[in-house]
Every structure is written in C-alpha cells, then in structure tokens.
C-alpha cells in the first residue's frame, strides 16, 4: 500500500500524467462533440467504441517508468531489500497506475453528464461501460507493468507494452476478415470485443474473467521477472 501511495504521489508530481490526461480528454472530447454536432447524436456509444484504441496508446506511457526507472536508478535494489514481497511491489504499482486511470475516467464523466442534459441517457449501459473501462484499463496497466519489468529503458517498456496491447486490439479488428472457424477464437482473445460486450450492458462472467486473468497473468510474469535475479 505504501508503494501504491508513493507511486501515485510521484504521478502527481510529474508532468506526464497531465499531458496524457489532457491529450485523452481532448481526443475523446473531439470525437464526442463531433458526433454531437455533426451527426446530432448524443450518446455514449461512440465514446466507448474509441476507448480500447485510445487506452492502448495512452496506458504504455503511464506504466513505462514504473519498474524500468527504478531498475535504472538502482532504487529497485533498495526496495527489494525491504520487507515487501515482489508481489506487493508489483501490485502496489498496479494500483497506483489503475488509480490514475480511474481519475482520468472520472474526468470523462463530463460526457455522460452532457448527454443526460441533452436527452435521455441510458444509465445502465453507461455504468456498465465504465465498469468495463476500469477492467480494460487494468488489463492494459498490467501489460504495461510487465513490459516495464523486462527492461531498464522506459522507451522500450512503452513500445513493448504498446505492441502487446495493440496486438490484442488488432485481433478484434480482424474478426471480420478471418474465416468463420477462427472468428470466435479471435473474439475471445480480443481486448476490444470483451469491452464491447460489457459496454453493451451485458456483464458476462467470461468478459470479467478475461480481464482479470490478463491482469493476473501479466502481474505474475512481472513478479517472476523481478524474482529471476534470485534464481539459482
């Protein structure tokens, strides 16, 4: 918990999250209001549809420094000689980054509020969409932490995280072109199609399990990477 607190504070003190949050709100806001004014349609679907790709771009920048920087600065060594387990360390960092993403999502509540002001808001799908958004952020964050644990170079960490995330996103985009026998597999692996399911208002245990298992597996890999220094 101390680690999560420290990481979160260090986000507050660093310029990166502000840039990212601004960039995200600006992009999502542009898309939202374009929809609103040009198509004259006020709903949240569009906002949620763009979310997987945008998160796939943003989250790597949030997570890239989490382990890589500590490795480069040598503070990782000090931290790993304190009475915290590798899992607590990884999970603390996960919570901090997820906290930042939640904060970002809170800021986007401006969009549903706008929609509600202009007409009927489908509360059910909006709430479901936000739940899905948190789960999906968690998955991207976990991927990012895993990537960050592999290297001492933040750029490498960001790129690796991006490619893994983008790969999982792309699988979903390919569903239409794939032969029908492979389509279900692709949709099962896709980070986007699970999100779509949830944001449609159907919270299925399969979708929930998908994100939770991505989070768990990635954090486990990150923990194992940290622990690998002690293999003999």
């Amino acid at each position: 918990m101390a680690i999560a607190k420290r990481e979160f504070k260090s986000y507050v003190n660093s310029p990166i999250p502000y840039i990212l949050v601004t960039a995200y709100i600006a992009t999502a806001g542009y898309m939202f209001f374009q929809q609103l004014f040009i198509v004259r349609q006020a709903d949240m679907r569009h906002f949620f549809d763009n979310m997987p790709l945008l998160f796939c771009l943003i989250v790597p920048f949030v997570t890239m420094r989490l382990v890589a920087e500590e490795r480069r600065e040598g503070t990782l060594e000090l931290l790993l000689t304190m009475p915290v387990t590798d899992w607590q360390l990884v999970f603390g960092k996960f919570l901090a980054a997820l906290g930042l993403m939640s904060l970002l999502l809170v800021l986007t509540l401006a969009f549903p509020i706008t929609v509600a002001a202009l007409g009927p808001l489908d509360k059910g799908t909006t709430v479901a969409g936000y739940i899905g958004a948190i789960l999906m952020s968690g998955a991207f964050v976990a991927i990012g932490i895993m990537a960050s644990s592999f290297t001492r170079n933040q750029i490498v960490a960001a790129l690796v995280a991006f490619f893994i995330g983008f790969g999982l996103f792309l699988i979903g985009a390919l569903i239409g072109v794939l032969p029908p026998s492979l389509a279900p597999v692709a949709s099962a692996l896709s980070i986007g199609s699970h999100f779509q399911n949830i944001s449609r208002g159907v919270i299925d245990s399969r979708d929930f399990l998908y994100y939770v298992s991505i989070i768990f597996v990635c954090l486990l890999v990150a923990q194992t990477t940290l622990d690998s220094r002690r293999w003999r």
């Binding site: 503070t75 000689t81 304190m82």
Partner: protein, 329 residues
C-alpha cells in the same frame, strides 16, 4: 548479547553466468556489536557478498544467515532486520527528504507511535534537520549519503550493511559519516565495505579482506598488521662519533631476545669522516620486548648514541597489498 552471532556465512559462493565465481566459498561470522570492515580491491566480490546478505541476490552455493534467518528461505525476515545502503546511494530524486523517510517508515512498518521519535533521532544523528523539505535530487552528494544512511537506520535494524558509504565524499564528510557509523556500531552490528584502508583502522573492530572472491584475511586491524611482518619489528637508529669502529650490528646480535638484525641504510657503518648514523631493523623473538636491552647495550657501549628506537607497525596498506596481489596471480 555481545557474543550472539548476527551474521553467519558458510562457504558462500556466487557465480554469474558461466564465469569464474565472483564469491568463492567464503565463510565468516559476525557477532553483535562488531563493526566489520570489508576490504578488497574493486571487483573482489564485496558488493556481491553484501547483495547476498541483504537477500537481493541468491547464493549459487553455500548459505548465509542474518540474525538466525536464512537469506534465501526466510528472506522477508532477514530484510526486516537489516538496514542497507547500496553503492551509489539510490534514492527517489522526486521526493523530499521527509517524504522519503516517511515512505521508508511505511514500507518498513514503523508504527505510528514510534515514528516521530525515530525520525527525529535519525534526522539529528545524520545531521539533515535543515534539509527535510528539500527534494533529494537537489541535495549534494554528501547530504544524499546521509539521507541514505538515515533510511538505513530509521527502523533501528539489528544489522546494518553499508556498501562503500564514504565513496565520493570530501574528507570532512567522510569523517562525519564515520562518526555516525561508529556511534551506531556501539549497539548494532555493522558491515561496511571500503577500499580506503584508513577508514578501517579508524572505525572497525574487525577486518575481512577478500580478493578474487576468496577470503584472504580475517582479524582485528592490529592483528592483520602484525601478521604481515610475522613478528613485531623495531627500528633502531644509532649514531656514532668519528673514529669509532665498534660494529653496532655485532652488539645488537648479542642481545638475547632478538631473532634477527638487518642493516637498512646502504651507507652502512664504515670508517668515514662524517658523523655516523645507521639504521637497523630488529625482529624480536615472539613475546619478547627487547627495547630496554637495546637501549642499555647501546648506552653502555663506547661512543654510541641511541637516536631512535621505534616499534614498527606494518600499515594496513602493506597487508592489503601483500594479501591481494599474491593471491591475484
């Protein structure tokens, strides 16, 4: 309490990849209240040994225990009981000193009641009182080192492990850090590595020298100095007047407690017009102090003056060079 074994190292070996072992079957024990200096040339395996003791790395073979807990199997217990300052003092540069120390208290579970008292104490001990609100990244190397030290002692660990705590500091800062180490060493067990020999003589109650991953010496600084020359040696300088041909070498050799006498300066004791002076190195038989006898013999001899009679202690430098170079080849 004083003879409780705090660190037990048994045939500890660490091999990186497929190379030569960085640490090769080292064994030693450190008791509570000892300040142990860990000496060795760069690359001798000091840092690796310390990283294993802090359970950051796992040993390839052998084992190590800190306060009775194995560094591999029981590493969280070990980590609870140690304070560690790695080489180069890695700290979070984007935190202030106070924030950082509070974070360490959080991670180390220093409970709220004791926290303020402990913080006040280490801040005073390390002399960082007026830097608490500063960002660590803005501090000078000396102050960073002190913050690093404060971090290592704030939870009052039983064992303190410091990797080159004085490297890169100016002489005043070195002296201050040493004072802190000494003060801590009164109650706790301290291991610190260094390649500055004066430091060891000034602070340690015991020295271990490693070279090429092997332990080559273990003892008090004085022990080691004595070991290098074998026995205590004495420098004798004798002056004489012109026309005196008594050979002081002969005189010295007659003395009972003396094992060996060697003339040192090349001019020797020869007939010449200059006032004569000659130096001899006398090695005493073990357990005998022949200085009284030497003085008496020279004083009663004809026309000879005793100019100097100095017990020689080999400096730790000599020991160090001797032990670490013969082993290296």
């Amino acid at each position: 309490m004083t003879d409780k074994v705090m660190i037990h190292v048994e045939r500890l070996t660490k091999v990186y990849g497929h190379g030569r072992p960085a640490v090769d079957a080292i064994s030693f024990d450190v008791r509570a209240g000892e300040v142990l200096g860990f000496l060795g040339p760069n690359g001798a395996g000091k840092t690796t040994t310390m990283k294993i003791l802090t359970s950051f790395l796992a040993p390839t073979a052998g084992r190590a225990q800190v306060a009775g807990h194995d560094v591999y199997d029981d590493s969280v217990e070990v980590r609870r009981r140690i304070g560690y300052l790695p080489e180069d003092t890695p700290l979070y540069k984007d935190m202030t000193v106070l924030e950082y120390l509070e974070f360490i208290c959080d991670v180390r579970d220093v409970d709220k009641e004791h926290r303020r008292g402990r913080l006040r104490r280490v801040v005073e001990q390390c002399g960082i009182g007026d830097k608490l609100g500063k960002l660590i990244g803005e501090l000078s190397k000396g102050f960073r080192q002190r913050v690093g030290l404060a971090q290592a002692i704030v939870h009052e660990p039983e064992v303190l492990i410091l990797d080159e705590p004085t490297s890169g500091l100016d002489p005043n800062q070195i002296a201050e850090i040493r004072e802190v180490i000494k003060a801590i060493g009164q109650e706790k067990t301290v291991i610190f590595s260094t390649h500055i020999l004066g430091e060891v003589q000034a602070t340690c109650s015991r020295v271990i020298i490693i070279s090429d991953g092997k332990l080559v010496a273990d003892g008090t600084p004085d022990d080691l100095a004595r070991k290098s020359t074998g026995a205590a040696s004495i420098l004798v300088e004798i002056g004489g007047k012109r026309g005196n041909d008594t050979d002081p070498l002969g005189l010295l050799r007659q003395i009972d407690g003396i094992e060996e006498v060697k003339a040192i300066n090349s001019t020797g004791w020869s007939l010449s017009d200059r006032p004569r002076a000659a130096q001899f190195r006398v090695v005493a038989k073990s357990g005998v102090d022949p200085r009284g006898d030497i003085a008496r013999v020279i004083a009663t001899a004809n026309d000879m003056d005793l100019l100097q009679l100095t017990p020689e202690k080999a400096s730790l430098e000599d020991v160090f060079r001797k032990l670490t170079t013969t082993q290296g080849a």
